[in-house]
């Protein structure tokens, strides 16, 4: 979809990402990020035309948990607000549409979770269909193991490549003060570890994380008012692959390629890419479907393998690319977000400086 209005990311803020923010409620955890996103561009909630968040009650273990988090926004007098039970990247998409439709010029978007109260791999099984997969409770790591096995058998990846992906991401995270895991043993050492879900080892899996991210986007003049170098959203698109895992070629995610085409990934040079891959082998799938060359810097933040707040990790990819563009370190970048099992739903966003 060709954007009618120029919309840019003008401010992002993240919480520290950690295994458990045990002493904090979700509201208390995300509030500093929301505050920081507003403060660093001198904005208040009165400057924001629309608020949209991404989170899940299944993670919080609490009904309507997102309504409680709205307290941190300051929602009185009543604000224009929405929520997606998906990663915050889809909340960004809704906010972007809201601005495209002319309903507002600015939006606050955030995505977060506390995955620590529940058993995340089991909680994620509730994303599956209720008749064929749900009753079997296949946890997310076991399913990812099926996908990795399919890739290995197809010659699409090797276990050594998977370990190298883990090593590269977690070493990159040493420069990311918010990351949960920083630094990695060498790929050779990683390969001596036992399997968690054969062929996946511990290093192949993203950590379980409590945390979140907040972002402000704005159109045209509003964006220029807030930022001296806005990260303009040149294209954004999301697509889905089948919910039926048995009907898919698990070594591929064609929905990513379609979204990439519509977002215009190939229309220019890509300096940096942030890919939402909770398992090492999935980074290879995403990279291949996006058609990224070897010269592209991938996951300089450390990626999802270094910090994995479910419902925030996708929006964080967009935030990390936007940060690098606004800092002048990159001119054009690609961010990818996923939701569901085994890269089922995918969003691709192309960002560019001026």
């Amino acid at each position: 979809m060709a954007p009618q209005r120029n919309v840019a990311v003008v401010s992002v803020a993240q919480t520290p990402h950690r295994r458990a923010a045990a002493g904090l409620s979700e509201t208390e955890m995300i509030e500093p990020a929301i505050r920081q996103a507003l403060d660093q561009v001198g904005a208040t909630i009165d400057d924001i035309g629309f608020v949209c968040s991404g989170s899940s009650d299944y993670l919080a273990g609490q009904a309507f948990s997102f309504v409680m988090t709205l307290d941190a926004v300051g929602a009185w007098p009543p604000i224009s607000e929405s929520h997606v039970e998906m990663d915050g990247a889809w909340a960004l998409y809704e906010a972007w549409l809201k601005i495209q439709s002319g309903h507002c010029d600015t939006a606050l978007v955030f995505g977060y979770s506390k995955a620590s109260p529940g058993d995340l791999p089991r909680v994620l099984t509730r994303q599956l269909d209720p008749y064929y997969y749900g009753p079997l409770w296949p946890d997310s790591v076991a399913l990812a193991g099926l996908q990795a096995r399919a890739m290995l058998d197809a010659g699409a990846i090797t276990e050594a490549e998977m370990a190298q992906i883990a090593e590269r991401n977690r070493n990159a995270a040493k420069d990311n003060p918010n990351a949960q895991l920083q630094g990695s043993p060498s790929a050779d050492e990683l390969l001596t570890a036992p399997y968690v879900a054969d062929p996946l080892r511990r290093h192949d899996c993203a950590p379980i994380t409590d945390g979140g991210v907040a972002m402000i986007i704005a159109a045209d003049d509003a964006a220029r008012k807030f930022s001296s170098r806005p990260a303009w959203i040149r294209g954004i698109d999301h697509r889905v692959d089948s919910h039926n895992l048995g009907a898919r070629d698990l070594t591929r995610a064609p929905s990513i390629a379609i979204a990439a085409q519509h977002a215009g990934v190939a229309d220019g040079k890509v300096d940096v890419a942030e890919l939402h891959a909770p398992f090492t082998h999935q980074e290879k799938i995403v990279r291949t479907e996006l058609g990224l060359g070897d010269d592209v810097l991938v996951n300089p933040s450390g990626g999802t393998l270094s910090a994995n707040p479910v419902m925030g990790a996708g929006l964080i990819r967009i935030a990390e690319v936007a940060n690098r563009i606004s800092a002048g370190e990159a001119d054009r970048g690609v961010a990818h977000a996923t939701s569901g099992q085994l890269l089922q739903q995918n969003l691709v966003c192309v960002l560019e400086g001026e």
Binding site: G23, L24, S25, M68, A75, G118, P130
Partner: protein, 187 residues
């Protein structure tokens, strides 16, 4: 519709759903499947609610406000919901309170439902700007009024925990009603 089947545990089948029609299949059609599901959560209420729950253990009701602000929120989540600014100042409110809304309940459900009819209500603790939920006791249900002054009735001291269940119910006290005019913004 006589084909309706009861889908709730309410008496007399207050909630029903149209009967399912199943296409012709060989053998007995599957009309319903039972799929057990349970998930365990170790929920942590956070800093603010921890302070509130620990107060209840001492038979105290703690609200909070942002420094310098007037409005004290109780049953809150660590931020002033109007401004989004963290509430760091703890203020004891109540224990006396005013009924701001009530409902006479004739059909109880759930394991802890009191005998019907009973009155559920919202209670504005003195000093707070938002109300707490609970039930009214020691008064006939048709005598309950908006503006009625009440106090909490606590469980025995040895049964106190960090729980709202510490307040068994609220009962009237001998004070004049608060005029509805003064409850504006709290109802």
């Amino acid at each position: 519709m006589s084909d309706d089947r009861t889908v709730s545990t309410f008496p007399e089948g207050v909630w029903t759903q149209p009967a399912v029609t199943v296409p012709a299949l060989e053998g007995e059609p599957v009309q319903r499947v039972t799929i057990p599901a349970s998930m365990r959560y170790d929920y942590s209420p956070g800093l603010t609610q921890t302070r509130f729950l620990r107060g209840l253990e001492q038979k105290k009701i703690y609200g909070e406000r942002t420094p310098g602000a007037e409005d004290v929120y109780v049953s809150h989540r660590g931020v002033d919901p109007v401004t989004g600014v963290p509430t760091t100042e703890v203020v004891e409110v109540g224990p006396n309170a005013t009924i701001t809304a009530f409902c006479v309940v004739h059909i109880g459900f759930g394991v802890n439902a009191p005998p019907t009819p009973f009155v559920s209500a919202l209670f504005l603790a003195d000093g707070a700007v938002v109300s707490l939920y609970g039930t009214v006791g020691e008064v006939e249900y048709d005598k309950v009024r908006i503006g009625m002054r009440v106090e909490p009735v606590w469980v025995d001291d040895d049964a106190l925990t960090t729980s709202m269940e510490n307040i068994k119910y609220w009962r009237p006290i001998d004070e004049p009603d608060v005029p509805a005019e003064q409850l504006k913004g709290h109802m």
